[in-house]
């Protein structure tokens, strides 16, 4: 009798712990949606489809990882989509015209992304300008520069040797998915185990307290924006590799997806709160949702309504969870 009570208490405790976790709602939603789609459609669980969904989640998810860092410090980066596009173009030019080795293109492009992200960081952290306005401006600048450089035309072909980053597989798992998960794991470690990670939470939670605690808040904020640029660039160049082309308009639709994935995953728009696991699950949920609407033949007119409704429900569930905690 006592054992039974202990077991049920332990289960209740585990359930409460799960409910307190920022990403609990999104995980439940993801599992429920996947179950529903596997029953309602013939092809959802096919290996091709699962692979395609995971790869789609990886591109927007990488952008979302950077966005999560920026949101955690209380900022926002509207330029990530355009940064992805510009970086992909610069990386493609470096590969096809400057003769940089295909294996060096990914780190080269990430470095370029870090640089353009640092521009945002310099304005926001260095000059204390509003991140919304700064990144709105750089969004236009990056997108415009992409068109100036390309004249609207894609840069292609990028070659088979470079295709391995976007089209290749490691033990059946698409390379972009592996890179996404590794990047996520590194960020989980950084946020949980390093001083920089703790400073990000401290800065986003209470800027004044962080200053008083001796945290170099400007440096932390600067680094968050620079890293957001780097992750956007990584997504952009991996997508270029997947498509064998540096496409000027790539990344245009990634901004909303990145913010939505982060918010769905429990990242607070006010800063100081967030979860990398949550963002990964958020990106997966968005990809499953987009895939499901196609497989269920949902009209294009309704698709945006559904995505918006899912975000609203997730935010409401998050509100309930925080109030009950």
């Amino acid at each position: 009798m006592g054992d039974k009570m202990n077991t049920s208490r332990a289960s209740l405790f585990s359930l409460q712990r799960f409910w307190r976790w920022e990403a609990s709602g999104i995980l439940v939603a993801l599992v429920a949606l996947a179950l529903l789609l596997s029953i309602a459609t013939d092809n959802f669980m096919s290996s091709y489809n699962i692979s395609a969904v995971a790869r789609q989640a990886a591109f927007v998810g990488l952008v979302a990882l950077g966005q999560t860092l920026v949101l955690m410090v209380g900022g926002i980066d509207l330029s990530v989509g355009a940064a992805a596009g510009l970086s992909a173009i610069v990386g493609s030019i470096a590969l096809t015209q400057w003769g940089i080795h295909p294996w060096l293109i990914v780190p080269f492009t990430m470095g370029f992304g870090l640089l353009i992200g640092a521009i945002n960081g310099a304005f926001v952290a260095g000059l204390r300008l509003n991140p919304f306005i700064v990144t709105l401006a750089t969004w236009e600048i990056f997108a415009g520069l992409t068109l100036v450089i390309t004249g609207g035309y894609p840069i292609r072909p990028l070659g088979e040797a470079f295709g391995v980053f976007g089209k290749g597989e490691i033990f059946g798992v698409p390379v972009p998915v592996v890179i996404f998960l590794v990047a996520g794991a590194i960020l989980i470690w950084v946020l949980g185990q390093t001083r920089f990670g703790r400073n990000i939470f401290a800065l986003g939670g209470n800027r004044d307290a962080a200053v008083l605690a001796g945290i170099r808040v400007r440096w932390v904020e600067f680094a968050a924006f620079a890293l957001a640029g780097m992750f956007a660039a990584l997504a952009g160049i991996l997508y270029a590799s997947r498509m064998d082309a540096g496409q000027p308009s790539v990344g245009e639709g990634w901004l909303m997806g990145a913010i939505t994935a982060a918010i769905l995953g429990g990242t607070s728009l006010r800063g100081g709160q967030g979860s990398i696991v949550g963002t990964i699950l958020g990106a997966l949920l968005l990809a499953v949702l987009a895939n499901g609407t196609v497989l269920l033949n949902v009209s294009g007119f309704w698709q945006r309504v559904i995505v918006g409704a899912v975000v609203l429900v997730a935010v409401l569930v998050d509100l309930l969870r925080r109030r009950s905690n």
Partner: protein, 318 residues
């Protein structure tokens, strides 16, 4: 012995010839046709939700209804991206490869990346077609292939209407849409031999009607002597016409542009738009379905069906 050898060689030769001839005799060309014994699913993926594609969809559904009378059931699915976003469109192509339809037809939004996805669809054994905007000779295409010529024709028309004199503006649509870019090239080539025609304004409206209205208003303010506008897609002639009509300048400023959306045709009939170059969208939808059925049955079909385009002027309103 020699005679025996010769006899054996003759027999062997005869047997060989008979073996070669046998399959030819047994095969009728009708045997190459595979009867359709199930409902066929065809997926169309346009560039974006747009009234232009409604007419293509009408043609596709008409073909499906016609085929049903013949006993061939076709389920036509239109998977329309809410926004003209390359990544979104490629995701849809990828998701539809997973669905394994009997035919897939895509209006290429981006030549380079779409081709990669279409190759994957073809490799997966799906009958892969393209429509509306041409992207590769590797896939059968149904639509108006010569966007450059459309731009050229509209340029020549504007030169004719303005008698080779005057300032003109270009609403360039989306800078990454190949058909818009080609039409602008054609337009510029058509006016380059007429030094009296001067391009004083060229801005992208991103295929958004409201932007086309605002840009035209700005162009008229900045260049009060502007005499003509060229619209590179289906939305921007309407946008230009709304702005010109609101300014009370219908008939004073000539507008030429693409396609025959109902509002654009109304503007032609009231004299605000001078000329449109209209594509045969209904035919595009109709023939795409017919060819995808043909592909499933093992029939031959054209790799390139140019549905062409035609001028629409006030004469067509009678």
């Amino acid at each position: 012995m020699t005679r025996m050898k010769a006899g054996l060689s003759g027999l062997a030769l005869a047997a060989g010839m008979a073996a070669l001839a046998a399959p030819v005799l047994a095969q009728s060309q009708a045997d190459m046709i595979t009867p359709i014994d199930k409902e066929l699913t065809f997926v169309f993926i346009p560039k974006v939700i747009h009234p232009w594609y409604d007419v293509v969809a009408e043609g596709s559904h008409f073909a499906a209804a016609e085929l049903e009378k013949r006993g061939v059931k076709v389920n036509v699915i239109w998977d329309q991206p809410p926004q003209a976003d390359v990544v979104d469109q490629n995701q849809r192509i990828e998701a539809n490869i997973g669905r394994r339809p009997d035919g897939l037809s895509v209006a290429c939004l981006d030549q380079a990346t779409n081709v990669q996805m279409l190759k994957e669809a073809k490799a997966a054994g799906i009958n892969t077609f393209t429509f509306n905007s041409f992207c590769s000779g590797e896939f059968p295409f149904v639509g108006q292939k010569d966007s450059y010529q459309d731009g050229y024709d509209l340029g020549a028309k504007l030169v004719e209407v303005l008698n080779g004199e005057g300032e003109v503006g270009i609403l360039s649509g989306s800078l990454t849409a190949t058909d818009h870019v080609e039409r602008i090239l054609g337009f510029k080539d058509a006016i380059k031999d007429h030094p009296g025609i001067k391009v004083v304004f060229e801005q992208p409206d991103n295929d958004v009607l409201e932007e086309a209205v605002a840009l035209t208003e700005n162009a008229m303010l900045a260049h009060p002597n502007i005499k003509g506008f060229f619209g590179s897609n289906a939305s921007n002639p309407i946008g230009a016409a709304r702005a010109v009509k609101n300014a009370g300048k219908s008939g004073e400023i000539a507008i030429v542009g693409m396609d025959d959306l109902p509002e654009a045709v109304d503007f032609v009939c009231d004299g605000t738009i001078t000329a449109l170059k209209a594509q045969r969208q209904w035919d595009i939808g109709y023939w795409s379905v017919i060819y995808m059925v043909a592909a499933n049955e093992g029939h031959t079909f054209p790799m390139d069906h140019n549905t062409g385009s035609r001028f629409i002027t006030k004469d067509d309103c009678k």
